[in-house]
């Protein structure tokens, strides 16, 4: 057997070794900062490679494939205040270079998350970003208050963008509601707040601006694009729930467009997500204006990819002569730009 497909066959570069270090005069309190370290508002990450909510389970599922401590952070599946059974199967169907899903936020609720998963997730040696969704602004706020009891959490990501549940209100399509949910959560807890936005809007920059003005530390762009797969013989949608959200390589140009539009008009750190499956994809998102990235659907078919990308990113930045990630973020030049 040859090397695992998802492990580079070249010898691994130790990212620390690339940055010459002086012998410290004092005991080291914080780990040495490598070129990969990034800061998103108040959130500091060892590197910009995160894994996207809903595509990494509760991390346990990935333990055979990923050394979690190598990642910039882990974002478990969306948690809701109360248990949700989720949508009837089929919940996913593959489409051309993409995946259409309608999971329906299947989860056991906040208290079960705290009891069953938080302990494990806290010990992974990487930043834990908890992704939450409520049906009302109060539910978001109450979840933030409860989670504030757990200082091992690094940040909250607000899922105001799931296309697959009818939560009553679609916060992420309304700038006013987006602002309100962000500011209520921000004042309810001490965590940095990431607002995860939906691309299913006319102007994503307008929503991002509302989130930024309300105090979001960063915006995560984007959740899935609403789509439909049709079984024409049966005259039925393929998915049990009807419509679904499209992800995977098929949506990468759309996600890059969203990142770029926001980067060029709003002053807020961006976490880019959508179809990332290689180091070239990561570099494209950084250049387009993302300060960090999330790997989503690719975890399903290349389960060690996220970890490998950390090494490859370090090499790619070195190749570009960059001493930090921020040197490459948003360097995209359009025709007519200065």
């Amino acid at each position: 057997m040859r090397a695992p497909f998802d492990t580079d066959t070249r010898p691994r570069k130790d990212s620390l070794r690339l940055t010459p270090r002086k012998v410290p005069q004092q005991p080291i309190v914080a780990p040495p900062v490598s070129r990969l370290a990034v800061q998103l508002g108040r959130l500091k990450l060892a590197n910009p490679v995160l894994v996207a909510s809903g595509t990494f389970g509760y991390a346990r599922e990935m333990q055979a494939f990923v050394r979690f401590e190598r990642l910039g952070g882990v974002i478990p599946k969306t948690v809701t205040p109360l248990p949700r059974k989720g949508n009837p199967p089929p919940r996913t169907v593959e489409t051309s270079a993409g995946l259409l899903n309608s999971i329906g936020l299947d989860n056991d609720g906040l208290e079960a998350f705290i009891e069953k998963h938080l302990g494990y997730l806290s010990g992974l040696g990487t930043a834990l970003i908890v992704n939450i969704a409520g049906r009302t602004i109060d539910e978001f706020r109450e979840m933030a208050v409860r989670l504030d009891e757990f200082p091992q959490i690094a940040a909250l990501e607000l899922n105001i963008s799931c296309p697959n549940v009818s939560c009553g209100v679609d916060f992420g399509i309304d700038p006013r509601l987006t602002a309100e949910v962000v500011s209520k959560v921000r004042s309810a807890c001490r965590f940095p707040v990431l607002a995860k936005l939906t691309p299913n809007v006319t102007s994503i920059a307008e929503i991002a601006r509302a989130a930024a003005d309300a105090g979001a530390d960063a915006v995560t762009l984007i959740n899935t694009f609403q789509g439909l797969a049709v079984d024409w013989r049966r005259r039925r949608p393929v998915l049990g729930a009807g419509f679904g959200g499209l992800s995977g390589p098929a949506i990468k140009p759309l996600a890059l467009r969203a990142v770029c539009q926001v980067a060029r008009s709003v002053n807020v750190p961006i976490v880019g997500v959508g179809g990332i499956a290689s180091i070239d994809d990561v570099m494209q998102f950084l250049v387009a204006g993302a300060s960090a990235v999330q790997i989503g659907t690719a975890n399903f078919y290349n389960p060690s990819l996220a970890e490998r990308l950390v090494d490859e990113l370090d090499a790619a930045l070195a190749g570009e002569g960059c001493a930090s990630v921020s040197e490459i973020v948003g360097t995209l030049q359009f025709p007519g730009d200065e």
Partner: protein, 308 residues
């Protein structure tokens, strides 16, 4: 090769396979088994050493976005080289994107696999009569099941395995009789009949169109056995959902312990995506069920647990 990630402090949930591996491996052999049905042999010692009957692995075509995801395939058998497990065989029927592509693969082709995944069939549950009921391509898990039950081959880690996360396969029962009831659409879809010719295995066939074996559904063979005084002590079943539903009901009616292996479509195979869910009973009430992931809590379930 797989990185078993550290120590005892990590809690393993039931069904999660902490030492699954992901690898790029070579196709070693590819041959026709029946109409539209093929057997592929992959060289992959680490997988072969650990996988047990009823477990599966994901197969993917590298370097393309379409088909994008891996697809699940059950272990057909493990093959040895120099007396040690060297790789796995799986049987497949051409139905869509990946299986069509696969039918063009030849020896030397590089493919991506990850596994072993899922729980597999339990070790033989009886010293009496074990009946295997297979519909269509649902026959694939039963070659290894039969060989293990008849003591012709060991699968999985040796009981003394000490690798972290390794779950040894302990065989406590040796069925006195093993019967395979195997139904297909028609004669030319019956696959692997030569492989199933082994000492101690009785094979009974059926076809929907009567071109071989009994004319009708394979469930009729099960009913016939029960009513003809040849009642099995345990039933393992894999096939299309309506057939498994019928087998569940027959076994329930006759109080025969039964296990079903589901073929729910999957996106990842290791529990991350929550798409391959099926309704699993949690209590006695009609609505007392929850969606559970087939890939990590199955694909094999005690029949009485499933709500069709």
């Amino acid at each position: 090769m797989s990185q078993v990630i550290d120590d005892a402090s990590r809690v393993f949930l039931p069904g999660l396979v902490p030492d699954a591996l992901a690898a790029t491996v070579d196709v070693v052999e590819h041959e026709a088994m029946a109409r539209d049905t093929f057997r592929l042999r992959l060289r992959c010692p680490e997988l072969a050493r650990r996988i047990v009957p009823g477990q599966f692995f994901m197969v993917r075509a590298p370097g393309r976005d379409d088909p994008l995801l891996g697809r699940p395939f059950a272990l057909y058998d493990v093959y040895d080289e120099d007396g040690v497990p060297a790789g796995v065989d799986f049987g497949y029927i051409v139905v869509g994107k990946l299986t069509t592509l696969m039918s063009g693969w030849t020896a030397g082709e590089s493919v991506e696999v990850w596994g072993p995944l899922g729980n597999g069939f339990p070790p033989p549950p009886t010293d009496g009569h074990l009946m295997l009921v297979a519909g269509g391509i649902g026959q694939t898990p039963f070659l290894a099941v039969a060989r293990e039950a008849l003591g012709l081959r060991r699968y999985g880690e040796e009981p003394e395995a000490s690798a972290p996360g390794a779950v040894p396969r302990i065989i406590e029962h040796r069925p006195r009789r093993v019967t395979l009831c195997y139904g297909a659409r028609s004669r030319d879809y019956l696959a692997g009949l030569d492989d199933f010719r082994m000492e101690g295995l009785e094979v009974r066939l059926s076809t929907d169109d009567g071109t071989a074996g009994r004319h009708g559904f394979v469930t009729a063979l099960l009913v016939e056995a029960i009513e003809g005084g040849d009642r099995p002590d345990a039933v393992y079943c894999c096939g299309p959902e309506p057939m498994m539903h019928a087998v569940q009901q027959i076994c329930q009616k006759h109080a025969i312990p039964c296990w079903l292996s589901l073929e729910s479509p999957m996106a990842c195979g290791f529990g991350a995506c929550f798409s391959c869910v099926t309704r699993v009973r949690e209590g006695d009430g009609p609505d007392d069920w929850d969606y559970r992931r087939t890939c990590v809590e199955g694909p094999v379930f005690p029949a009485e647990k499933l709500v069709f």
